[in-house]
Amino acid sequence: MSKEAFDYTEHYKKFYEAWEKTMSEAMDMWKKNPIAKNEANAGKEDYDPIAQYKKFYETWEKSSSEVLEKWVNSPLFAANIGKAVEKSSEFKKYFDEAVEKTLKNMRFPTKGDIDRVLASINNLEAKVNDLLDKVDDYNKPARPSKK
């Protein structure tokens, strides 16, 4: 999605509309509440607070989902989240290098050393598997079908 394709004015307008819709639903819910009405009219109509609240929730859920999903798909959000990831990567690299240097100076094996040993073991395992295959092929050149 190009920067030109994303209309921020339209998006902020949608954001306002979602807020307005949710608030009017809340107001509507409150107005229907018999406690908020005068006592003479109260009790003459069915009022289900749970159903009313559910309606409010559904309005909020629908409008908020639309707005937020549109927002996370905006180039501005993508650029900002990318910047945050970039900065956290820089910090992590700096921190890891400092730890690695300290451990090396203290003559301790580092995480990098352990990873290298484990990677070598994995390579050895792959070579053993290749050898086992060769032995298998040598012993059973034409393996009969299981079917």
Binding site: M1, N33, P34, I35, E39, A42, G43, Y47, P49, I50, Y57, E61, S64, S65, L68, E69, V72, N73, P75, A78, A79, I81, G82, V85, E86, S88, S89, E90, K92, K93, D96, K111, I114, D115, R116, V117, L118, A119, N122, E125, A126, N129, D133, D136, R143, P144, S145, K146, K147
Partner: protein, 355 residues
């Protein structure tokens, strides 16, 4: 007079509080242990963290060409065998298909250098070899899911002689189509080199939060409200817990293969532009001549349908079929609708081409 309403509201609030405590306890605080991936199987090959699973037949007659399921490198593959009655593996076995599945395992920091070359030319090649040997068949069918689908297409293009049928499920092929991940992974927004150089592997939490942020209200609110409303429905709770277990069972992705996926595919779209080379060999989709079945989820927010829609035309296959199914990325493998209607159809398509 307002008391009548206050009393009724208080009663409702009391009931809601009890229901809420129950939901909170089950969903978040103390979720019961759920068994997943229980269809009987044996492990016939291992290398590093990779395990190759072979499922025991559930039908009297098994068709001669085995099927290898290749899952994505993100999350665990048991989504394809979630629980009895909600398992793609089970549906295929009951239809007489000989099913193998690659479980990539959870990569450690020592695996950060594993790249596309290693996955395609070592792991998948080894698996195909082992399955051929184990089944006695000289060809195999592959079913790739998501990233696993992209890798299956690459493997089939590089080793067409091994593959009898290629089945893709929500596989990203064309990465220049509009989508959230394409936008987030785009070059100006994401410096993948800096990220991988610092982190080594992609942390599981990084991917998980990315997926959550794609649909924040649905993942952080609606899902739990829906659970609260259905907390007394035993079958619903059981499915919810199994799905939650899978969704939260995240694994890291080896850094190098992630770097290549982002750079070569998301940012440069090399597969579609016929520029992708693995170990010096071009991955030409036109080399795919076997029958192809392309399964697309209509409401997929991870891999937009348009990303895989044109795949069959990019191959040279004369026997292709594309099914766009009205479900989401995960729904394709776990929704009861897919399991009842789609997968038996997939099995029939495969059986027809496995004689």
């Amino acid at each position: 007079m307002g008391n009548k309403y206050v009393d009724s509201a208080m009663q409702e609030a009391g009931k809601a509080r009890d229901k809420f405590s129950k939901a909170l306890e089950i969903a978040l605080l103390n979720p019961p242990e759920v068994e997943v991936g229980v269809t009987p199987h044996e492990v016939i090959f291992t290398e590093n963290k990779l395990r190759l699973l072979h499922y025991y037949p559930l039908a009297e007659k098994t068709h001669p060409v085995p099927l290898i399921m290749i899952f994505a490198l993100v999350n665990r593959p048991y989504i394809l065998d979630l629980k009895p009655g909600r398992s793609v593996v089970e549906v295929l076995l009951k239809k007489g298909i000989d099913v193998y599945l690659i479980d990539w395992g959870s990569p450690g920091d020592e695996d950060k250098k594993l790249d596309l070359n290693h996955y395609i030319n070592r792991y998948i090649k080894q698996v195909v070899k082992q399955v051929k040997k184990h089944s006695g068949s000289d060809k195999v069918s592959v079913l790739g899911y998501c990233m696993g689908g992209t890798m299956s297409a690459m493997y089939t293009a590089l080793y067409p002689e091994d593959i009898r049928n290629l089945l893709l499920m929500t596989a990203g092929i064309d990465y220049k189509v509009e989508g959230t991940l394409s936008l987030w992974g785009d070059k100006p927004n994401f410096d993948v080199d800096k990220f991988i150089d610092a982190y080594g592997n992609v942390p599981a939490e990084f991917l998980q939060s990315g997926f959550i942020f794609m649909k924040p209200i649905q993942n952080l609110v609606s899902k739990y409200v829906n659970f609260y409303e259905n907390v007394d429905n035993e079958a619903f709770v059981e499915n919810f817990l199994a799905m939650e277990k899978w969704l939260n069972d995240n694994i890291p992705v080896p850094g190098e293969v992630f770097r290549e996926f982002v750079k070569y595919l998301y940012q440069e779209n090399q597969l579609v532009e016929n520029k992708l080379k693995i170990n010096g060999k071009r991955v030409d989709l036109k080399e795919i001549k076997c029958p192809v079945l392309n399964l697309i989820a209509e409401n997929d927010h991870l891999v937009p349908p348009a990303s895989s829609l044109g795949f069959t035309e990019m191959t040279s296959s004369k026997d292709t079929k594309t099914i766009v199914y009205p479900t989401g990325h995960i729904g394709l493998s776990v929704s009861s609708k897919s399991l009842k209607a789609l997968w038996p159809e997939v099995a029939d398509w495969l059986i027809e081409r496995s004689k």
